[in-house]
Amino acid sequence: MAKKDHWENTQDPHLLYTEAARSEGLTTQDAPSTKEKPEFNIIGRDTLRIDGHKIVTGKAPFLNDIRLRGMLVGKTLRSPHPHAEIVSIDLSKAKSLPGVKAVIGLDREKAQYIGNRVAAVAAVDEQTAEKALKLIEVEYKPLPYVVSVEKSMEEGAPRVHDKKPNVEKIRDEKRGDVELGFKEADVVLERTYKTAIEIHHPAETHGSIAKWEGDRLIVWDSTQAIHNVRDGLARSLGIPAGRVTVIKRYMGAGFGSKLGLNAHTVIAAMLAKQTGRPVKITLTRKENSLCVGNRPTSLQTYKGGVKKDGTLTALSLTNYTTGGVNRGDRCSEPLLDVYRCPNLHVKEYTVYTNMGGSRATRAPGHVQGTFGLEGFLDELANEIGLDPLELREMNYTTKNRGDTGVPYSSKGLDKCYELGAEKIGWHRRNKTPGAGQGSTRRGLGMSSQIWWGAGVPGTLADVKLYPDGSVDVICGTQDIGCGTRTHMAVVAADTLGLQPKDITIKLGNSDYPWAPISGGSLTTPSVAPAVRDASLKAADHLKEMAAKKLKVSGEDISLQDKKLVDKNNPENAISFKELARDLRRETVFHGERKGMPDGFAYNTFGAHFVEVEVETETGQIKVLKVVAAHDSGQIINTKTAESQVIGGVTQGVSTALFEQRTVDDTTGTLVNPNWRDYKIATSMDIPEIIPIFVDVDDPHINILGTKGLGEPPRIPIAAAIGNAVYNAIGVHIRETPMTPDKVLQALRQKEAI
């Protein structure tokens, strides 16, 4: 039976994500050469998604479309109490309900939050499974609980975890001497910023189907991490990893909430084992709201010193963050890294509460930290009467850790500033925040962004050539909706002189060559270089074959327009298809994403520029325009890259203005576990979005010079909106979401001063 401790990735999910995103400790000597950038034909251009038609016409199979013969429906019974001892569970009544095939108690002594799993059933259909859940008799002994951060920090507050205090320090980092730095400053300012809990809410809720074939387990999962799920399942069930296959076909996003093994997947496997039939469990929207993660809050107090010319002399941050029963997010990474500042002190604390645990959420910590830091910089700039963009330029650095570390492998943030400012018309901003007249005010704001996103060395991909001229690209990555299939096809086609539609993409199966999780902006910079490596090997092999046929040397051959051509005599050529026949059997070329040289920091950068309109009478904010300039190195496919930016900005607008998990502090219940009351932006709320990719060469990072783009467009948007609102009305809304009530209150406070 499953070992309880291994039910979910016991590894801290935040660590899992950020460590992978950093790609630390994986550098090797096997670094890419710094020779000239190759010429590309398809890479860097617009290619329509190869699966786009299938997706928008409803033909692409998502988890819920998969129906297996004899498949049962699994459901989970969850605790209605925020904190309770489970005294006893009686399954007998549920078991005797006709149509119920298995009922299991989940061997748990305590429920720590509303939604904590307690028992599970498998039945012939959903209604029967739901009925069975009601027949499970659980005796709870309610325990004292705490769901508000403030109360949890009070002395004598009920303990959330038996073995740790409610408040734990999660970071204490210093450099230089902040007190000295404050003394050197002309202006010292202190401000507090707050961000709400955001729920991932992927369009497709979590779900898994488990099926046993003898001692082999096959799982279809809605996951960002097929290999992690496979390893986790093997560990939990005590079976060899090689006997587990995890398949993920099409997916309606995850945003970090599907990065590891989920309890419901293990439960499905256990129920399938017991019943000898496949079992499907899909979570409801409510379960999705309660128990598969959220973005932790932040309560960030900044103190900063600045000279009149804009030089930062010292910055300090104290942050309190709650991720319910899980750890909160460290928010200080941008602060520690992106601007030159010799004196710095960061203290961060996590506060536990009896609420569903956090999980990595698209740019964990960076989103919250950027809202605080970049908002604070604008307030500092205003104090000294400086253009906020100039303040950032003034403290620009090409070395990480605030100019105290190693050089960035490339940093195009300056170009992002230049192009973004030009495109939005930065000169139009109010020179003094709130300078406009009337009840409808416009303003401009901006924010920088830093993230990791170098990719993971060791990622593998195969290119398989068939004698009929067809080509497979095979990689155990997953396309979670971002267009991975398309970028793989683009890279292989470009390298082999073919078109993307000529390539058959095989991914989403853990039996395929290893690739990392799709999270942390890892996928493209991991997978694309591996595909490139394998494709180059295939190309070399074909060139040698063609050279013999065409009686020239392999170096003289180029692959273009589905042909292998003698560069010196274009008439002398052979078609790809004809040449492939000579392969006689399928031939596989193994590619790998190699390591990166030591001595550099590998990061992505960007800057967002936003124009807003604020109605001072109603407190309503309308985002009019967003210019999103990004340095993500070599763009593989501009079409899907732009989609990525539009998606990130959309999600950012949504959380800046609307999204907030709302909890009743007295009862511990989540009052908005649905899409009516948990408000997500609609198409009517999304402005014109103009993505810009700055052309920056990174010779160190990988053979394609490509960096990730998953989180970057999500990071600076809320801060840029906040700053634009500040520019429009002269008061800073220091809390997300910036709803009308907060805007009105801030305006009122300003009037009162």
């Binding site: 009743d664 007295t666 009516r676 408000k679 932006a681 609609t682 009308p740 009530d741």
Partner: protein, 322 residues
């Protein structure tokens, strides 16, 4: 979801003659009712599908009155050209509500009889006063969307956009009962929680809202609907103002102001009406009147902003008519 039986009556009499001790729920478009059933807010027993009854969906002009059948879809109301021309307030309210998808399925009767959206009421695990319990959880809990007027024992806001618009037009409701039809002003159709906290209107067990009637529009009659919401669409009103008046120059000979989103019933703002009637309307006069009329508001911990918004909605609506 609890199991239920589906009844498909052929006429209204079959519904009004149902024994009053039987537990059943009327279903029009089902956009609200199904949500309640699926989330187990109600245990329906029998669902009576009004769609099987012929001739309940119509917009007719008779005796110069406009009669709107309860089963008329909101989208039909929004598209009707007479309503668009003569009763802008109703047209605008219909277009403002929910989303095009919901307008296509939801009906006028369903919209006028929909249940409140209080998130405690919609939580199957919470048994608040409206569900027969002894507490109002919103009073001291999370209440940013709740009532600032008329609350007391239950602080819901009545969620319908059509109701304030229709009331501002002096609409009447026709109710089918076992003893034939009766007609009441729509304004009197809605009842405060203190009358019966479990209900929002006067309908008795086997009564049905059959149609609404709007009196003929007057020549100088003008009307408008201002809805303030958080998002661009798919959002209930934070507050809304339906204003209908007879204007000459910059003076209202007659005016009716009804607010949505502020109280458990569509809230008539008589005080402001009286302050405005017969007086030349200027920016300051309207703002003052709105403010004064709303000074009775009793906001809860998180919804004081609604008092400001209500005043703005009233001012905007009134000023747009002169």
């Amino acid at each position: 979801m609890k199991e239920f039986k589906l009844a498909q009556p052929q006429n209204l009499a079959q519904v009004t003659s149902l024994p009053s001790d039987q537990r059943y729920f009327l279903m029009a478009g089902g956009t609200d009712l199904l949500d309640e059933i699926k989330n187990e807010i109600i245990d329906p027993g029998v669902v009576v599908d009004l769609k099987s009854i012929p001739d309940l969906a119509y917009i007719r002009s008779t005796d110069e009155k406009i009669r709107i059948g309860a089963m008329t879809r909101v989208s039909e109301l929004a598209e009707n050209s007479t309503i668009k021309t003569n009763y802008p307030v109703l047209h605008e309210a219909a277009l403002s509500l929910a989303t095009p998808q919901l307008q296509n399925v939801g009906t006028v009767g369903g919209n006028l009889c929909q249940r409140p959206r209080c998130w405690y009421y919609r939580d199957p695990q919470v048994e608040c006063r409206k569900k027969g319990g002894s507490r109002c959880y919103a009073a001291r809990g999370r209440n940013r969307y709740h009532a600032i007027l008329g609350g007391g024992i239950c602080h819901i806001v009545y969620p319908s956009d059509l109701a304030p618009a229709l009331i501002s037009l002096d609409a009447e409701a026709t109710i089918a009962t076992a003893n034939g039809d009766r007609t009441v002003p729509l304004e009197e159709f809605y009842t405060l929680p203190r009358v019966d906290v479990r209900k929002e209107n006067i309908l008795k067990a086997n009564e049905i809202l059959k149609e609404v009637k709007i009196p003929p529009s007057k020549n100088e009659g003008k009307s408008t609907y201002v809805k303030l919401k958080e998002r661009g669409t798919w959002d209930f009103a934070l507050v809304s103002a339906a204003v209908c008046g007879i204007v000459s120059g910059n003076t209202f000979k007659d005016i009716k102001i009804v607010l949505g989103g502020v109280a458990p019933i569509p809230w008539r703002l008589e005080k402001a009406e009286n302050l405005l009637k017969g007086n030349p309307v200027t920016d300051d006069v309207v703002k003052q009147a709105a403010k004064e009329a709303l000074s009775d508001a009793r906001p809860l911990k998180e919804n004081a902003y609604k008092q400001d918004l209500a005043a703005i909605a009233v001012s905007r609506a009134v000023l747009s008519l002169v």
